[in-house]
C-alpha cells in the first residue's frame, strides 16, 4: 500500500484548544504559604509521610492528608540531572543555551522530594548529597515561581 505523498491532504489546523484548570484546595494552601515564604506540605495520618506540594490523598494509605506542616527551607540534593536540551510545549526539543541543573530536593526525612532548579553552582560541580537552600523572589505573590530556585547552602 505504498503511495505517493501527493495522495494525501495535509491540512494545517490553526487551532489551539484552551483549558482552564481549577487548582483545588490543597495547592491553594501551598501558595498561601508562599505568601509568607513558607514551604508547606500535607501530612498523612497513616504513614506520616509529608507530600510537597500538598495534596488531598496519600495513595499508599488511602487517607486524606488534612494536616498541613511547614518544612525547612534547607535540604539535601538527593538526585539531579543536567539539561543540555529544552523541551518546548508540544514536545519539540532544542539545544539549551547553556547547561542547567534540575534537582530532587529532600527538605525533611519524611517529606517527598521536591523537583526544582538548582542555581549558583557550576553544573559540572553538582554532587548528590549537597546541601541546598530555597531562594525566594523578593516580591512574593502566592504564585508558582515565588520559590524561584535552590542554591548551595
Amino acid at each position: 500500500m505504498s503511495v505517493q505523498e501527493e495522495t494525501f491532504l495535509t491540512p494545517v489546523v490553526p487551532l489551539d484548544f484552551t483549558y482552564n484548570y481549577y487548582i483545588g484546595q490543597y495547592l491553594t494552601r501551598y501558595f498561601k504559604g508562599f505568601k509568607e515564604k513558607k514551604i508547606l506540605g500535607s501530612r498523612c495520618p497513616g504513614c506520616s509521610k509529608v507530600a510537597v506540594p500538598p495534596r488531598k490523598y496519600c495513595g499508599v494509605c488511602n487517607k486524606v492528608m488534612e494536616e498541613m506542616v511547614e518544612l525547612p527551607q534547607e535540604g539535601t540534593l538527593e538526585n539531579f540531572t543536567v539539561g543540555h536540551v529544552t523541551m518546548e510545549k508540544g514536545g519539540r526539543l532544542s539545544p539549551a543555551e547553556k547547561p542547567y541543573v534540575l534537582g530532587l530536593i529532600k527538605l525533611d526525612d519524611k517529606a517527598s522530594l521536591l523537583l526544582h532548579k538548582v542555581e549558583g553552582v557550576d553544573p559540572s560541580q553538582v554532587k548528590a548529597g549537597m546541601k541546598v537552600k530555597a531562594v525566594w523572589k523578593d516580591q512574593v505573590e502566592g504564585d508558582y515561581w515565588d520559590l524561584d530556585h535552590f542554591e548551595p547552602a
Partner: protein
C-alpha cells in the same frame, strides 16, 4: 462465564456546571469515597480499577495516572477505556469482563468529566478537525453560508439531520420532542445527582426556547456538567458475602458503525436516524440475556440522550416499541415514572451530562431502580429487568447493558 453483580455506587455530592472548589482528582475522590460508603467496602477489597472519561475535553492524557493516588488504585491493575460518549458504559463492560473472565473478583469503575475546565464543543470538534480543515482547503464553507458547507447548518450539527429523519419515519412532531424534554427535566428535579432540574417543566415551556436548527431547540440539548461516578462490581461468590442487595448483569453488548473512511463529505455524520448499531447491539444483548420479548420482559430503560428526541428514537431502535409508537406511549403517559414503560427517571443525559459518567450513570440508575434505592425518582412499577443504553463515538457507536434483580441461571 461467571455472574457479575453491581454491589456499590458512588456519585460526587453534586453534578453542576462548575466545580470551582476542587481540582480534577479531588473531585473524583469524592465519588470514590461515596462508593466505599455505599458498599461498605474498603480499598483493600478492590482487585482492579477501570477508568474512563473523554480526555481531550480536559486536555489530560491518560488522567488515571494523575488520579492514581486518589482512587485507591496503587498496586492494582488499572485499565483506561475511552470510547467517546459511551466511555462510562464501555468501562463498565471492561470491568464486567475483568470478572467474567475469572481473573478478578471485585472491580471498581471510575468515571468523571470536568467540563468547566475545558471546552466540550471544541473537544468534540477535535474528532474531525483535520477533515474540516481539509474541506476548507477544498472550498467548503463550514459556516453554512453557501454551497456545500452546510455541516448541519448550526451548532446542533449533524444531530438535526438525525432528529428530522426520526420525526419523518416515526410520524412524531417537534411537540413530542418538547414533551419528552419536559418529562426528563421534571424527573431530574427528583434526582439529587441531576444537573438541570425543573419540577414545573412543560412541553409548552420547552417550546418557547429558541430553535437552533430545526427540529432542535435549546430546550432539547444536554448541559455540560462537572461530576464523577463510581461503580463497584463483584463476582457472584463475593457479592453474596459483601452485599445485601445487588443488581445483576445479564448481558453486555456493543456495535460500531463507521465514522468515515476518507469519504470526507459523508463522513461528517453517519446513519443519522437509522442508528443500526443500536438495533444490532440490542439484538445481541437480548440473545445473551435470553430475552425473547423485550417489551414484555424489560421493566425499565435508561437511554443515552444527549438530545431529547433520542429517548423516543432509541426506544424504537432497540425494539422496546414499534417504529412510530414511542411518541404515542409518551402521549399516554406510559414513559413517566408512573407508566408501564418508565424511561430515564433519572432525568437522562439531556438533564445531566458529565460525559465520562453519562453512559455509566445509565447503568447505575438502572441498578438503583432494581435495588429499590432510587429514592424520590423510584418508579412506581416493580422493576425486575432493566436496560441501559449508551451512545457515542462519532454518533456511530452503541453499548447496551441488561441488568436484573436476580443472578442469571448459567
Amino acid at each position: 462465564m461467571r455472574n457479575v453483580a453491581i454491589v456499590g455506587i458512588g456519585y460526587t455530592p453534586v453534578f453542576v456546571s462548575k466545580r470551582r472548589d476542587v481540582c480534577i482528582p479531588e473531585m473524583i475522590s469524592e465519588a470514590v469515597e461515596n462508593a466505599f460508603k455505599n458498599s461498605g467496602l474498603t480499598p483493600a477489597d478492590i482487585d482492579a480499577v477501570v477508568f474512563g472519561n473523554m480526555h481531550t475535553f480536559e486536555g489530560l492524557n491518560l488522567p488515571h495516572l494523575w488520579s492514581a493516588d486518589f482512587i485507591a488504585s496503587l498496586g492494582k491493575p488499572v485499565m483506561r477505556i475511552a470510547t467517546g460518549g459511551t466511555t462510562g458504559m464501555s468501562a463498565f463492560h471492561a470491568a464486567y469482563y475483568h470478572i467474567a473472565s475469572g481473573l478478578h473478583d471485585v472491580v471498581m469503575v471510575v468515571t468523571y468529566e470536568k467540563h468547566s475546565e475545558g471546552d466540550a464543543q471544541v473537544g468534540l470538534m477535535g474528532i474531525i478537525t483535520p477533515e474540516i480543515m481539509a474541506m476548507l482547503a477544498a472550498g467548503i464553507d463550514v459556516t453554512g453560508q453557501k454551497g456545500m458547507g452546510a455541516i448541519g447548518g448550526g451548532s446542533a450539527g449533524g444531530i438535526s439531520y438525525q432528529a428530522t429523519s426520526y420525526l419523518h419515519h416515526s410520524g412524531a412532531g417537534i411537540e413530542h420532542i418538547d414533551a419528552i424534554a419536559a418529562m426528563e427535566r421534571r424527573n431530574a428535579s427528583k434526582n439529587p445527582y441531576a444537573h438541570l432540574k425543573d419540577p414545573e417543566a412543560t412541553a409548552e415551556k420547552i417550546a418557547q426556547t429558541p430553535l437552533i436548527s430545526w427540529p432542535i431547540r435549546f430546550g432539547h440539548v444536554c448541559p455540560t456538567t462537572d461530576g464523577a461516578t463510581v461503580c463497584i462490581l463483584a463476582s457472584e461468590e463475593k457479592a453474596a458475602k459483601i452485599a445485601d442487595k445487588a443488581a445483576w448483569v445479564w448481558a453486555v453488548a456493543n456495535c460500531a458503525s463507521d465514522a468515515t473512511t476518507g469519504n470526507l463529505i459523508e463522513g461528517i455524520i453517519t446513519d443519522p436516524g437509522e442508528q443500526m448499531p443500536a438495533t444490532i447491539a440490542a439484538k445481541k444483548a437480548y440473545e445473551r440475556a435470553g430475552i425473547q420479548d423485550p417489551r414484555k420482559e424489560i421493566d425499565y430503560v435508561e437511554i443515552y440522550n444527549g438530545f431529547a428526541h433520542q429517548t423516543l428514537m432509541f426506544l424504537e431502535r432497540i425494539g422496546m416499541c414499534e417504529v412510530g409508537e414511542a411518541h404515542k406511549l409518551l402521549e399516554k403517559g406510559e414513559l413517566e415514572m408512573s407508566g408501564s414503560l418508565p424511561v430515564n427517571a433519572s432525568g437522562g443525559v439531556v438533564s445531566t451530562n458529565a460525559i465520562g459518567t453519562s453512559a455509566l450513570n445509565r447503568v447505575t440508575e438502572c441498578a438503583l431502580q432494581l435495588m429499590g434505592q432510587a429514592g424520590e425518582h423510584q418508579v412506581e412499577k416493580e422493576v425486575h429487568k432493566a436496560l441501559a443504553h449508551g451512545w457515542g463515538g462519532l454518533m456511530q457507536y452503541v453499548t447496551i447493558t441488561i441488568l436484573a434483580d436476580k443472578p442469571k441461571k448459567l
